[in-house]
Subunit: 405 residues, 2 copies
C-alpha cells in the first residue's frame, strides 16, 4: 500500500563502500537477513542514534565504537536484540568479533545494527554462520540488494542517490533506509546508511549527519513510537579525488550538503510512504510559530491524533478534528482567533472558525488525494516546521496485531 513509492531509483555505487548480503534464516529460512558493509580504510563515519532509554544492545555498542575507527557495519533483521540486557550486549559483541576475525580487523572496528522483534535472544550462531557468505558477496554494486536485505515490515526497498560535479570530479551520495512502524525518530532514525566518496573531516561529517537527520528522519512519524534501535550512519570514504572537506563552508561543502540532505529526505520520506498500512502521505506544515518547539508541538499533535489519522484514511475533511488537535497541543496563551488552517490551497478554517468561503466539496476533493498537505498558520511569529506522516488504516491495526504470529 506504499503511497507514491515506486521501484528503487538508480543507486550509484560509492567508491570505497561495499555491501554484502546473506541469509542467516533468523525469522524464515532462506530470507536475506544479514547485510555486511565495508568502509575503505581511511573512511570517516558519523552516526545518530535513538534517544530511547531502552536502546538496544547494538546501539550501545555502535555509539561507543563510532568514536573510533570504523571498518564494517553488520546488520541483521528479524531480531532487534533490545530489552535483552547484559546477554544481549555479549551477543552483539560476539557477532562483531566473529566478523572481525573473518575479515582480519579489530573487533572494535565492527558496528552492529539489529532490527526486528524486541526482547528475544539474538540467534548468534545463525548470524555467525552467514558472515562468510556476506563477506564473499561484498561489492560496490549491491546497494539495491542491501536495501532489500534490511527490510522488515517494509513492503518496498528504499534508496536514493545523487551525483554532482566539483572541479571536474564526480561525487556520489547514495543511501538506503528501512522502517515502516515504530517510527518517531528522536535525534536518530530507523536504520539508514548513507555513503559518499567525498573526503570529509569527522567533525564536519558529524554535524552534517545531525543536521541532515534533524531535517528529515527526525521529522517523520508514523505511530509516535520512538524505536529502541534507530540509527543512521553517514560514511565518507574519501575515494573521490578532491581535497578533504574540513570546514562547514565552501562550494564543495555546500554541494555535498545539498546532496546528503536530498538523499536523507528522500529515504526518510520513503519510510513514511511505506508506513504500516499507509494509504496517504501527509505533510503537516506549521507556520507563524513564536518558536520552533511550539511549531513541532502543534505538528506532532496533528500528526499523532488517531482521530485525524482515521479521518485521513476515510478521506473525510473533518477539519474540526484538526482544530481540536491544535487546541490541545499545549501552546501557551494560544489565540485561536489568529489561526488559519489549509488543506493544500483550500482554506478550511480562518480566524479560528470555519472559513466563510469553505465548502465541503473543496475539502473532499483534497482529502481524496493520496498526498495531502495540512498547513496551519499560527499567526504568532516567524518560525516554521514541517512533519511528514501517514493515515491510520485497518491495515495498520492488522499488521501490528499480527506482527509476531
Amino acid at each position: 500500500m506504499a503511497v507514491g513509492l515506486g521501484p528503487l531509483p538508480t543507486l550509484h555505487p560509492v567508491p570505497g563502500f561495499e555491501l554484502g548480503i546473506a541469509s542467516a534464516g533468523i525469522k524464515r529460512p532462506g530470507r536475506k537477513d544479514v547485510v555486511v558493509m565495508r568502509c575503505a580504510e581511511g573512511s570517516s563515519v558519523a552516526g545518530v542514534f535513538t534517544l530511547n532509554a531502552f536502546c538496544a544492545a547494538p546501539v550501545i555498542l555502535s555509539k561507543q565504537r563510532v568514536q573510533g575507527t570504523v571498518r564494517y557495519l553488520l546488520t541483521n533483521t528479524g531480531n532487534a536484540n533490545a530489552g535483552t540486557g547484559a546477554p544481549g550486549l555479549a551477543a552483539a559483541e560476539r557477532t562483531c568479533a566473529k566478523l572481525a576475525e573473518l575479515a582480519g580487523v579489530p573487533a572494535e572496528s565492527v558496528l552492529p545494527f539489529s532490527t526486528g522483534v524486541i526482547g528475544e535472544p539474538l540467534p548468534v550462531e545463525k548470524i555467525e554462520g552467514a558472515l562468510q557468505a556476506a563477506l564473499d558477496n561484498l561489492s560496490e554494486n549491491n546497494w539495491a540488494e542491501a536495501a532489500t536485505g534490511i527490510m522488515t515490515t517494509d513492503t518496498l526497498p528504499k534508496g536514493a542517490s545523487r551525483q554532482f560535479q566539483h572541479d571536474g570530479v564526480t561525487v556520489t551520495v547514495t543511501g538506503i533506509s528501512k522502517g515502516a512502524g515504530m517510527i518517531r525518530p528522536n535525534m536518530a532514525t530507523m536504520l539508514g546508511y548513507i555513503a559518499t566518496d567525498a573526503k570529509v573531516a569527522p567533525k564536519v561529517l558529524k554535524d552534517l549527519m545531525l543536521d541532515g537527520a534533524n531535517k528529515s528522519f527526525n521529522r517523520i512519524t508514523i505511530d509516535g513510537d520512538t524505536s529502541t534501535n534507530d540509527c543512521c550512519m553517514l560514511i565518507a570514504t574519501g575515494k573521490a579525488d578532491l581535497p578533504e572537506v574540513t570546514e562547514a563552508s565552501g562550494a564543495l561543502f555546500e554541494a555535498l550538503k545539498k546532496a546528503v540532505f536530498e538523499v536523507c529526505m528522500e529515504v526518510a520520506q520513503a519510510i513514511v510512504r511505506d508506513g504500516e498500512g499507509a494509504t496517504k502521505f501527509v505533510t503537516v506544515q506549521v507556520n507563524g510559530g513564536g518558536n520552533h518547539q511550539e511549531c513541532l508541538d502543534v505538528g506532532y499533535a496533528v500528526a499523532h491524533s488517531p482521530l485525524i489519522k482515521t479521518a485521513l484514511f476515510a478521506s473525510d475533511p473533518n477539519w474540526g478534528r484538526i482544530l481540536a488537535a491544535v487546541g490541545r497541543a499545549g501552546v501557551p496563551e494560544l489565540d485561536v482567533s489568529l489561526i488559519d488552517v489549509y488543506l493544500d490551497s483550500v482554506c478550511i478554517a480562518s480566524k479560528g472558525g470555519r472559513s466563510p468561503s469553505y465548502t465541503e466539496a473543496q475539502g473532499s476533493a483534497v482529502m481524496a488525494q493520496e498526498e495531502i498537505t495540512i498547513r496551519i498558520e499560527l499567526g504568532r511569529g516567524q518560525c516554521s516546521e514541517t512533519i511528514w506522516t501517514t493515515d491510520l488504516s485497518h491495515e495498520y491495526v492488522k499488521i501490528n496485531a499480527e506482527y509476531r504470529t
Copy 2:
C-alpha cells in the same frame, strides 16, 4: 463491545435535581438528543472544563456562568458547537435564552453543553423546538433516561450512584457520563453530571470536583485526543436535612467525598470500558517514580502507544513494546536496569531485561483476559499514578473513519 460494562445500576434520585429529555431530531429524527436538568433554588454548582484552546462555545459560556447562580443545564448531542466562532457563541446564548424564557429564570442561570460533530452550525431552531417538551418531562426519576439522552458514539449509558447515612439522614450522590472517543481529559472530562442532595459551600464543592476529576476523569485516555467540549458538573442541591459542609474536613465531608469519588471513578471508567472499539480494559499503574509527572509521562507513553494498543487487541504479550514506550517517555536519566514490568502478577521484565522466570505462556494467559493491569516499577522514588485505557482495534478505525457518514 463494551468491556465489563453491564446495564445501568440503580440510579437513586437526588432530591432537588430533576432531568427532562426530549427529541430535537438534530442528527436523526426521533432520537432523544436534548436533556434539560433543573437544580433547585439554593443549589451550589461546580464545574471543570476542557483546557483545549479551541474550546467550544458552550464551554466558554458555561465557564463564565458557573461563577453565578445556576438553575438549568441544557445539553444537546449531535452537534458540538465547536470551531464555530462568534456565531456559535450567539447560537448557544439563544438556546439558553429560550429555555430561560420558558422557565422564567434569568438567561445567565442556564448553562449550555453540546457534544457531537465539531464545526457545524448549531441547529438552534430544532433545539428551541424541543425545550418545552424537555421541561414538561422534568422529574427526579429520569437519571437513566438522561444517561441515554446524552450518548453519542457510546454503546451503553453510563451511571453510578451511592448513598450513605449521616446522623440518621440518607445522602445520595448520583452521576452520569458520556463519551467514547476523543477522550483524554485535561483538568476536565467528557460530559459528566454528578448531583448530591448534601448542602455544600461553593468553595468546598469546587475543590471536591477538581480533586475528584483529577483522580478519575483526568486519568482516563482512549485515543489521546483532548476534546473541545469536555465538562463535568457537580451539583449540590442542599435538600438533605443536614448542616452545610463548609470545610474540607469532618465526618460528613469525608463520607461525601468518598461517595463523590466513587461515583466519579465508576462513570469515568465506564467511559473507558465503552471506549470506541474497545475489547480490553487496561489499567496502567506506574510506581516508584521520583515525582508524579514522570509517572504520568510513563503511563501516558504506554497508554497512547499504538503498538502496545494493537498488541493488547491481539492478546499478544509483546512486552518489548512496553519497554520501548517506557524508554521513550522522556524521563530524565532513566536507569533502565532498575525497571520491572508486570502483567497482572506476572513479572515480564526485571532489571530492564526479560525476566528470567518469564514464560510466553504466562504472558499469553494474562493478555487473553478482558481486564489487564500493566504495572511498571521505576525504582526511582515513592510516587505512583494510575491511568485507565483501552486497546486499539479494527473497530476503532471503522468507527472513526465512518463517524460523519
